[in-house]
Symmetry: C2
Subunit: 494 residues, 2 copies
């Protein structure tokens, strides 16, 4: 038995335990050779990697140190007595091995894998193995089983309405912040739209990050339900809802590996929407040379997979293809994107036209779900609600209901203009590059960091003219972004 | 610039850096969101994961803490000034992504991946992704390219002889310690056999672990060369030689994932043998229901792959299939296996007959490589050298040359007999299970830990009679092994 000691070391996302190297009879090296240990006490259990400590000031003989992450996950107080044992690999790893060998897995097998992943019983390496094996080949029934398994291990929200609308964009286009325009429009019309969004993981900005510039987004399920009851809609961060905990774990490995298969994408999106209680969903698939989907054929294949899985999960979908050839709007980064969104809602004359147009198209498709509205009237109705200021009023009510941010974060004070190397026309802007430059500047954690695009494709520029401005609140962040943009600005001028 | 501080925390096999959470302008959380950082100074560079510390007793504002592993790899003294930056993923990860997408890679691409892996630029997750993608499909030219790339990044040994013999068993059979019998036999005959062996990774015992019971095995290349010049042979640990550093890294991921594809196995073995300067190689493929190779078809496929790669690498091979239906010899674990080996070399009457017979067969095949010996005389010559005591004398010279162990480690003082649950005959013994029980007891780090098999297949046993005895030097180890054996002893009695 070892005494738990909390160590002020955060090894997110991994659980790490610390033990004195020479102690406890059975040598710590023997445990370490096994890489992973199981820590149990008072009915709680976690798996952790083991770090060996050579200084008894940090940890002493009869203790086990737990890093912040491991301490939180174990959930026992300091001083609790725990036992350690060799971690047995989860039994479902056998199914992963079969998948690696080329087998097709059944529902029960996929469900066992997902349960173990959601319970944090897999290491990143093991999760990577599962994902890569699935990337090699995954049947549509397997994709459906994966979606069902992901829904089964999470929380479910339910709404007292037969029509709960939602939208989702598969991502990859910087500045594509349509949700914050679409949701107030459909709310102003009277539809129920309890929107949960993610924070950025490898992108410079998620909808939750932008909404947080304006209002509180970390809501409890109860708070969310109250707001939806009053306003019809909400724009909350989904992370707290635990809607698809297995997906959250999978994403933590997909992103660094830049694995982005259609099967994983469909299972991830549909599982979260089902868990969030949506019944009708508009999915936006941007297609472009630097977008996630780069050809019409691929877009059609993805659409069919969405349709197959959504239909079997009992969800209505409208799937649209959109222009993913360049970033949307002007700003990339939380503060900048919030500025663009509000400019559109306020019908300002310099509001980005592409963002406005794209949001209206999506809102139009969502409004078509309303059986009361004559077919084909969705777009016109959306335009009416936006132009009249009703959408802005709905947004202001939603912000007030969630809790308006008393002090708005400001735009980064360190700035750098990236200039055109030649005179000509902007022929393309690389979405991936722009996203990564904004990320290097510090977005989204630095809310004022990002990029303001001063030219879009088709625009004429002179040599030395600024193409875009980088913002950051730290000179280190600005330096990283500047260096990265110096290698390749993401713009092609011809 | 940050000052390097060595922290007495060993996070093997990962590099870990420790920074104060709130410090250095650009927040540590922003770095952590990136998961991996690049640390550079005085021309040295490592990648490390970042742990955030909330206590400035452990690390202060202008410092970066390095765990033992990271400190050693960076190779700078304490107090050195270093810079940190966001780690860029190695460019060769693009080839891994293409492999995941189903492409076949060319020589230059595989070589780039292997160079980055050998330089520790890949995380375990990224290595896992590469290995699983290769497990999905790998062409024979890709396997050859992998072998060549692995040879290219390591050290090479060379011997002043046109005939340098070696043997290798693909493993998986506990107690199969033939090298320590075969090497003295061929040395007694006068062949050059500079044998490098591995330590156990997930098995309870490697040849280097058993040899270490008798003599020093951590030799420099120079010491090894001197011993081979005098004795014709050596039994050294290959780990110090850096013969295939990429393979050492790959293995650290293959083993926990229990990935064991033929392509990786062939590239691993042939690359190490080429690097060790061998010209003629006997490969032993045990076939059995719980062995690595479980059918004759699979054995033939593996043999052909070995032949293809070895031929293109300019190496002569003889590949034999052997009985892999149960463990070989009596003992499993360093001290126990050393006992069995010496009993065979000393021609003791109770020496394990199966170990003796298998070693003679392998030595016979190796002796056939000698152009001076009439064809088909290998086995008889091997038997003659063993029976006459010449092999024992050669072994004693090799032990003396390497440095005999002054104090022999003793057999574990904690013991437990696993008893038969019924009366009947032993119909099968599960190699994998026996290996894991011995491992749980503490082998190989606890040299005296292991299993002594008292019955082999075909043997008649009574209910309550001991099937095997578990040994350990710690009661925790004995407890683990006992519990594990209690779930499933690995024996079937019928």
């Amino acid at each position: 038995m070892l005494r738990v000691r909390r160590l002020p070391i955060d090894t997110y996302p991994d659980n790490t335990a610390f033990m004195l190297r020479h102690s406890n009879g059975y040598s710590a090296e023997q445990f370490q050779a096994l890489r992973k240990i199981r820590i149990t006490g008072e009915g709680r259990e976690i798996l952790a990697s083991l770090a060996l400590v050579d200084d008894d000031q940090i940890i002493s003989d009869c203790e086990i140190g737990l890093g912040e992450q491991a301490f939180r996950r174990l959930g026992l107080p300091e001083g609790a007595m725990v036992q350690i044992a060799q971690a047995r690999p989860p039994a479902s790893l056998e199914f992963v091995r079969r998948k690696i060998d080329g087998d097709t897995l059944g529902e029960a097998e996929i469900s066992a894998v997902i349960r173990d992943i959601a319970a944090h019983r897999y290491s990143p390496m093991e999760i990577g193995a599962f994902l890569v094996a699935c990337a090699g080949f995954m049947s549509t029934p397997e994709t459906l089983a994966l979606t069902e398994a992901m829904v089964a291990v999470g929380n479910h929200l339910s709404w007292d309405s037969p029509l709960v609308v939602d939208k989702h964009c598969i991502g990859g286009i910087p500045g594509n912040r349509t949700s914050m325009i679409v949701v107030p429009i459909v709310a102003a019309h009277g539809l129920i739209c309890p929107k949960t969004s993610s924070r950025a993981i490898t992108s410079p900005c998620g909808t939750a990050d932008v909404m947080e510039v304006l209002a509180k987004v970390e809501l409890t399920s109860k708070e969310m339900a109250d707001i939806v009851a009053r306003e019809g809609a909400v724009l909350a961060w989904g992370g707290r809802m635990n809607l698809s905990p297995a997906d959250d774990v999978l994403i933590s490995v997909e992103r660094p590996l830049r694995l982005d298969t259609f099967e994983q994408m469909v299972a991830s999106i549909i599982s979260k929407k089902v868990a969030a209680g949506s019944t009708h969903l508009v999915i936006d698939i941007p297609v472009g040379p630097t977008a996630k989907v780069r050809s019409q054929n691929a877009a059609v294949r993805l659409r069919k997979l969405f349709e197959y899985v959504a239909r079997h999960m009992g969800m209505e979908t409208t799937i649209i293809f959109s222009d993913g050839s360049q970033p949307i709007g002007h700003g990339v980064g939380p503060v900048l994107e919030a500025r663009d969104v509000m400019a559109v809602l306020r019908n300002e004359s310099d509001a980005p036209a592409d963002l406005r147009e794209h949001a209206l198209a999506l809102a139009g498709h969502m409004l078509e779900f309303d059986p009361e509205l004559p077919g084909g009237r969705g777009y016109a109705r959306a335009l009416e609600l936006l132009a009249s200021g009703e959408a802005l009023a709905a947004m202001e009510r939603i912000i007030a209901a969630q809790g308006a941010n008393p002090v708005k974060p400001s735009l980064g004070k360190f700035r750098h203009d990236v200039q055109s190397q030649s005179t000509g026309r902007v022929t393309s802007i690389d979405c991936e590059r722009i996203a990564r430059i904004a990320r290097h500047a510090g977005a989204p954690l630095d809310q004022g960091a990002g990029i303001d695009l001063l030219h879009k494709t088709g625009s004429a520029v002179h040599k030395g003219e600024a193409l875009y401005r980088i913002y950051a609140n730290s000179d280190i962040g600005l330096g990283f972004a500047r260096e990265f943009a110096g290698e390749n600005s993401g713009y092609v001028i011809a």
